[in-house]
Structure formats: C-alpha cells, structure tokens
C-alpha cells in the first residue's frame, strides 16, 4: 500500500466529545465479551484441544466427546458448502471470460437527449438550456415532468411543506 495517509485524510472521527472513562468502558465491555465467548465454549474448546492432542498421537486422558457425532451430523452441511463453492469457482471463471469479452466491445451508445427531454416534458433545446444554468428551480409533477420556476436566478427562500 502506498502512502494513503495524509493530513486530515482519511476523515475518520474517533472519540468525538466523549469522556475518557466512556471510551475505556467500551474497551472493557468488549474484552468481557471475548472472555464470555471463551467461558461459554470452554468445555468445547477443552474437548477440541484433547481431540487435537489425540490426533497428533500425544498422550491424553480418556474423555467423552460427542465431537464425532457432531461431525457426522455436519456432513450434509459440509457437502453443500463444497458444492456451492465449486459452482462459484466455475461462475467466477465465466465472469472472467465475460469481462474479457466486454472490454473488447465498443462503448454502448448513450441515452438520447430527445428521450431525456421528453421524460421531463421539455424539448431538447430547453433541456440543453437548463444544463447550462448554474442554478435552476423546478416544480415536478406526478409524472416527472418539470416546470421551470425561475431560470438562472438565486433561490434562497425557505421551502415550507
């Protein structure tokens, strides 16, 4: 990554208007959440550790684990996962080929101004005139057609509902 950080950029806002104890409270609660996670799953983590030791051929005290039963129950899920990932791999290849073909094609024709103007209830000359204005004020009806209120003049009045 090149030098992305420069003065004031990226414009991240951290610790805005918060006392220090509130910030530290957030960290403390999150540490508690991590501890809670390890506590709740402590039994499973210990059984997993013993299973790995057993797999590695290291001595371990006899233990009762339903991990093998769990793996059997999980088998359909694993198979579906593998299948979907395989389909995605094929789809990715297709996307790649599609991209290569699209890069070779010329750019598509743009939307025509005549149709854009018609959508707004204008003609092309009026549309192009509005496009040259710095500030325009428009009223839009239910069908999306516009009525120009004031053309080229500043509009600073509050709009009431």
């Amino acid at each position: 990554m090149s030098d992305m950080k420069r003065n004031g950029w990226p414009p991240i806002i951290a610790n805005a208007n918060r006392p220090a104890w509130v910030i530290w409270r957030g960290y403390a609660i999150t540490v508690f959440m991590w501890c809670l996670f390890f506590f709740i799953l402590g039994k499973e983590i210990e059984l997993a550790r013993q299973s790995l030791l057993m797999l590695a051929g290291l001595p371990v005290e006899p233990f009762d684990s339903d991990f093998k039963r769990f793996l059997v129950e999980m088998r359909p899920t694993r198979r579906i996962t593998v299948l979907l990932v395989a389909v995605l791999a094929v789809a990715t290849l297709a996307s790649r080929l599609r991209r290569i073909a699209a890069l070779r094609r010329p750019q598509p024709a743009p939307a025509h101004d005549r149709e854009l103007a018609r959508d707004l209830g204008l003609d092309e000359a009026q549309l192009n005139d509005l496009r040259q204005q710095k500030i325009v004020v428009l009223d839009v009806d239910e069908k999306g057609r516009v009525t120009v209120q004031r053309n080229g003049k500043s509009f600073s009045a509050r709009v009431d509902d």
Partner: protein, 418 residues
C-alpha cells in the same frame, strides 16, 4: 404430526447450516475475487492511467443537509479528475440547505444546483438530476458522504467494460466513537465487502450501495430509472438494471467516507429500512424470477429468501430455547433447543471470526489500520445477527400487509457522534 415434528427438529439444524454455508461461500467468493481482480490492482491512490478520461456528472441529492453540504460538496469538488461536474439536487429542504447550496454554487465552478420546489424523495431527485446531467456517466453519492480524491479515475476504469450498467463503490465508515461505530466498521468489511466481492465473482449482485454508485445513463433509461415505490431505491434499481441485461459490479477502489448511526434507535431505523427494501424486492421481482426472466439472478433471489426463512427459524428456535429455560411447557412437536451453542455454536462463531479475518485482510489496502477493527468483531454474532433477524421478522409482514411506501419520505438519518 410426524412431519411437523421433523420440521421442528430440522429448524435448529437450519439455523446453524445457513450462516455456516453462506460464510464459507462468501469467504470463497471474496478470495476468488481477490485472486482474479484485486491482487493485480494498483494502490487505491494510484489509479491506472487511461488513454482518455470520459467526463462524469456527480449527483448529490440533498434533503436537509445544512450540516454536511459544505463539507460534502467541497470535498467532491477537490476530486482529482480532468472533466466532471457536480449537481446538487435540493429536494425541497426545510432547513438552510437551499441558501447554502446557492452560496456554494458561486464559489465552486463545477457545481450546479437544482432546487425542487416540493419534497418528492431521493428517487425523484435522482431521476431529475440524471436527466439534467451533461454527461452519460454518473456517480451518485449521498449528501453527507466524502468522496475519495481518486474515486472518479477508478470509476472511469470500471466503465471500460461495455456491459457494466452500474457499479457499487466502497463505503468506509468515518465515525467510530462508540462501540456501535466500531462494530459497523467490522460489519462493513466482513459482511458487506465480502458479499459484494462474492457476488461480483458470481456475476450478479443483490444490491448496490446507494451511498456511492456509478451508473451508465443508458442503463438507467433501459431499467426505467429509479423508483419511488420502495424505501431502498438502490436495491430496486440494481435488479431492474440487471434484468435488462446490464452487469452490476463491485468497485472497491471507488471509496467514499460515510457517517453511520451510533445509537441503537438510529441503527434500528436504518436496518429496518434496509430489511423493508429487501422485502419489497422479494415481492416486486418474484414473478420475474418465476418467469425465468433473468436466470442468473435466481440463486441471488433464493439466497435472500433463505435469509428471511432463517430469521423466522431463529426466532422460533430462540423462543423455544427460552421456553425450555423458563420451564414453560412446549408443544410436543417442538424439539428441545439449547440456548448454549455447544459444538454447533463454537464452529459457527469460529467460522465468523475466520470470515472477519479474511475480509479485514482483503480490505486493509483501502484503509490503514484496518486489522485493529478485529478487536470489535466479537460483537457481530451477538449483536448484528439479532438486529438482522429482528428487522427482517418485523419488515416482511409490514411490507406484505402494512402501509405502502410513498415518495417524499426522507428522514434525516442518525449521523453518529462528530
């Protein structure tokens, strides 16, 4: 009765299997995308040169953006690009947005302002702005978003593909003062960024991020423009553009810095709106999917449908689990469900942590210090899954049976602590 018993026995399995399968799918998709595309990218602040830089129109719909308009529009004006204009569309704001935009128009040469006399909603504002734009290529950002200086060059790079009708950029979160802000940093990487990579690898996308998206105007015209019918016009337009044969892709180097809710109520409102948008999509495009109008979108549609079913399955399972804990008699057909996750829970949480690690590693090129956000990801399984499932459970019946969305319903969002 036996079928019902088996159905309820299957529910906890489905509650585990769906997020497990999708997590591995998204990780694989993210890695495929990285290997196929991202690995060869230049650094985000060094976009590759093109022989010619096509002109762009940046559309910025504004409703009551008095607090953020100056910062957003001056930042957009400072973008490093030879030929572009900025169009701020004031959608009948009731604060000082109009006066502020008029003043900015005098000081920013590239800025044009469109005032709409009455408030008609973001979709309508974009529809007017897009037609009044001078250029074919559009980049739409929100009124409180800060555009990266190199965003337009990367946008032009993505539009080299003739079949791309829309791309979604990479929103990065600015405000991370609270735990909620920090959690969302992790969420945007580990979920949203990874999903968009996987969907781009697959070839069809569920939704662009409306906060930063590039459009080819012809594709918008083919799709029928933005719709005011739904609270999330970005989801809706993504589907309509793709159904017209255009491609939607992820452009991670088109970066914008955004403000996200940092209160629970603000987050709830935002996520409920997103969930309602998904429900609208499910209803609006269901018949098109059944008629096989765009077969490639069928898996994307089914994936969303499964997520809705998962939300309801989780709700039933959690309620049954609480019933067991409280000793409430349950119907005989409802299987006993433990609230202590045991092996299933451990595998699921570890899978999510791996997903977070993969996604943060992929995203670190776009944000210095990204890996520090891993400290906060433990919240995601507890907090965001609950938020996602509750907003979905609430949103679907609201959309199916409740009031219809009407235009002109902008709500000033919670923009966090600044």
């Amino acid at each position: 009765m036996n079928m019902l018993r088996e159905f309820f026995a299957f529910l906890p399995y489905f509650c585990f299997a769906y997020p497990f399968v999708m997590a591995w799918y998204w990780m694989a998709g993210g890695l495929f995308y990285y290997l196929w595309r991202e690995r060869g990218f230049a650094a985000p602040d060094q976009p590759p040169p093109l022989a010619a830089w096509p002109p762009f129109s940046i559309l910025v719909p504004c409703f009551n953006e008095a607090e953020t308009a100056v910062e957003t529009l001056t930042t957009a004006h400072d973008v490093d690009y030879p030929d572009f204009e900025i169009i701020a569309i004031n959608d009948g704001s009731s604060d000082d947005t109009a006066a502020i935009l008029d003043r900015l128009a005098q000081s920013l040469p590239r800025l044009r302002v469109i005032h709409l006399v009455t408030n008609g909603g973001k979709a309508r504002a974009l529809n007017v702005g897009a037609r009044l734009a001078r250029h074919e290529l559009l980049l739409c950002i929100d009124g409180d978003a800060l555009l990266d200086p190199h965003a337009l060059r990367w946008a032009a790079y993505n539009f080299r593909r003739a079949d791309v009708g829309v791309f979604t950029g990479n929103p990065r979160i600015r405000n991370r003062t609270t735990e909620l802000g920090q959690m969302q940093v992790g969420e945007f990487s580990s979920i949203i960024g990874l999903i968009k990579r996987a969907q781009t690898a697959y070839g069809w996308m569920f939704a662009i991020s409306g906060v930063v998206a590039g459009f080819r105007r012809k594709a918008l015209q083919d799709a029928g423009w933005w719709s005011s019918h739904t609270p999330t016009e970005d989801v809706d337009v993504t589907w309509r553009i793709q159904m017209k044969g255009w491609r939607a892709v992820y452009a991670p180097s088109v970066i914008v810095w955004i403000l996200m809710p940092e209160t629970l109520m603000g987050l709830w409102r935002q996520r409920l709106r997103w969930a309602e948008g998904g429900a609208y999509m499910m209803i609006d495009f269901g018949s098109d999917i059944l008629r096989l109008r765009s077969p490639g979108l069928i898996p994307t549609y089914l994936s969303y449908l499964l997520s809705v079913l998962w939300s309801y399955a989780m709700l039933i399972s959690i309620l049954a689990g609480f019933a067991d804990v409280l000793g409430v008699p349950r119907f005989g057909i409802v299987a006993a469900i433990s609230l202590i996750p045991a092996w299933w829970g451990m595998v699921l949480v570890l899978t999510y942590l791996l997903q977070a690690l993969v996604s943060h590693a992929l995203d670190r090129r776009y944000e210095p210090g990204m890996l520090r956000s891993l400290f906060w990801v433990i919240w995601y399984p507890a907090a965001f899954w609950l938020i996602a499932l509750t907003t979905t459970v609430v949103a679907v019946p609201r959309v199916l049976f409740g009031r219809k969305h009407t235009r002109g319903t902008w709500v000033s969002p919670d923009r966090g602590l600044r």
